[in-house]
Symmetry: C2
Subunit: 369 residues, 2 copies
């Protein structure tokens, strides 16, 4: 193998595939990046959960393949000046890497030993812009469960139905939902699909996605999913089983509705949480909802805090308490300036929604005072 490639292009590819390189493994080959030079040059990483392939523009002088330690390879390229880089495989998998007056010789591993990524047919894809998917993941991923006793909840549901695309995360105490309905007139695809994608995969995908309008396609087959960003492809296993029927969790009606500024409410919760140190779950943040304002309090051994927030309220007065982190994480995920919060009783879930439309819904269970 012999290729010539700009430092910039190579580094961009390495930075992407490095996200699926194993950091804790006893198999040295999983700490590596597979470089394959055919008609084009492809970098591949695979930690056996997630695989990433990335095409890099390069001049292929001699076809071939090699695996290089990802950390070492990345550091070498990163430290090179902005110039052309030559990579050449010599005898015994010795690899020469040259750039201007620098010359490295490091040992590679045989490409044969690198675990192949699953092949997934690119058929019936869900199409969505990169930036939008990045936002939708950010706005739901925090509610993915970490409880391995309920394995289906350690992933997010991707649902595609009647042209509407929805991501849902549930951890047993709260739910985060984000929808996207393409405007009318845009092409919609008919096939209905439900995929449950591991939280770990979504974390890595969200890091790779750029805040741009470029489209990507999501394909699934068997227990595998593929995110196709053009030059870069991420594959991951899917979680197998039935996801919760999330629509049945939302309360049908409400007793109290409060309209409030998102950032102001977030600040109140953040300040209230300051006195909740140590065993945080023991202490709730209390809301007293009156006609003109919401009074937010917390009382712990560390101290007391009391916040007043002007609100618009409809319905019954209410006293209700929450675990502060659930509210803070939902409020931080919301970009809208104003929100509506729907309450049932002091023991029933509350739902945070936008003033108009159904773009998102955050459901949070209260705790007893």
């Amino acid at each position: 193998m012999k290729i010539i490639c700009s430092k910039e292009n190579l580094l961009e590819g390495i930075n992407i595939v490095q996200k699926a390189v194993s950091s804790k493994t006893t198999l040295p080959i999983l700490e590596g990046i597979l470089i394959e030079a055919g008609d084009r040059v492809k970098l591949t990483s695979n930690d056996l959960e997630i695989g990433i392939e990335c095409y890099v523009e390069a001049d292929v002088r001699e076809q071939g393949a090699i695996v290089l330690n990802a950390r070492m390879f990345g550091e070498i390229i990163r430290r090179f000046p902005d110039a052309e880089v030559l990579i050449e495989v010599r005898e015994n998998n010795n690899v020469v890497i040259e750039c201007e007056n620098s010359r490295f010789e490091i040992r590679g591993l045989d490409a044969e030993g690198f675990p192949a990524l699953p092949t997934i047919e690119k058929k019936d894809g869900i199409k969505i812009s990169q930036g939008l998917l990045k936002d939708m993941i950010r706005q739901t991923i925090f509610a993915v469960s970490t409880d391995e006793n309920r394995p289906m909840l350690t992933g997010s549901l991707f649902e595609y139905k009647d042209g509407k695309f929805t991501i849902v995360s549930i951890d047993g105490y709260r739910l985060a939902m984000r929808c996207f309905e393409p405007e009318e007139g845009k092409e919609t695809e008919s096939a209905e699909r439900k995929l449950v994608i591991p939280g770990k995969t979504l974390n890595e995908i969200a890091k790779i996605l750029q805040q741009v309008d470029d489209e990507l396609y999501i394909y699934a087959a068997g227990n595998q999913v593929l995110f196709d960003m053009g030059n870069c492809i991420v594959t991951s296993r899917l979680l197998e089983g039935e996801y919760l029927n999330y629509m049945s969790i939302f309360p049908k009606d409400h007793e109290t509705k409060v309209t409030v500024n998102t950032k102001d409410l977030l600040s109140c919760f953040e300040r209230a949480s300051l006195v909740i140190t140590g065993e945080e779950r023991r202490y709730p943040v209390n809301l007293d909802i009156t006609e003109e304002k919401m009074i937010i309090t917390a009382n712990t051994e560390a101290g007391n805090v009391r916040e007043e927030l002007r609100t618009d309220m409809e319905g019954n007065l209410l006293e209700i308490s929450f675990y502060h982190r659930f509210f803070i994480e939902a409020l931080r995920a919301i970009d809208n300036e104003m929100i509506d919060i729907y309450f049932t009783t002091s023991l029933g879930p509350c739902t945070i929604k936008p003033l108009q439309g159904n773009d998102f819904a955050y459901l949070i269970l209260p705790i007893r005072r």
Copy 2:
């Protein structure tokens, strides 16, 4: 005690004094900030090695003093909106902190229990600009020893002599020296002084110092030193004993002199260090100094690297090896574009200097190949 103060001013003061709050202590009072309201408001922290006092503009309604937990106090003020903050001490050291619609009540500690800072007479100070001192510390602190068996070397020497101010750090294998000589005509003070200031103190001082021309004064008395920045005062103990006679360490003459671009040489060393992983000291970086270029190599089990760098050379050809980190840290500290490196023999120290003047000197011992 009752004071009213802008959030901004208060937070600025807290951020400074927080640097001398103990993080690991069994004495809760050392985790606190002392607030004293007399004619002015003063914040004080003291971890028994370093003490910081900071004056904050405030409206004193009632004189008094209290100690508040630094972490909690800092977080509360940080989370407040940009507005006026009221701090009032009630019965039993309960402290009310209010800002707009937020109200905290936390427990304070009696100010009586807070350890007093040493008093140092402000006499015969060394005057220097904040930005310059910040630079001088940055350019020498990395060579302070961490070896407690040679306690004097765990600090830097501050020498003031004939109007010239010098900072020196030595760790047994290398030396970093930075000088400042005020231009002629500027007032010079006559008293000669040698202070050895602990590395930990210098680290904190460097963080507090701003990149500005404002002057500060350094005063010393007994085994204490005081840095007076006007609104903010840092006190620290001094190391007691005789510092090495550093001038005697520099070689009197040289056999080889190389003139080289600082950043280029740094890049070569940084790349060469990439193959030196694990037990790094075992593997040297080798320099082959020829008439037109320097060849920099490293060979380890991880791989080989070879760098070529064009240089101007006078004197004897030379092969010499170094521990990479000593060169990298010295080169990173140098702001000059070009440097001269003076070599004696392959076993004698080399000295890095500016092309003109004597603003700095870095001396590094070689290692055997």
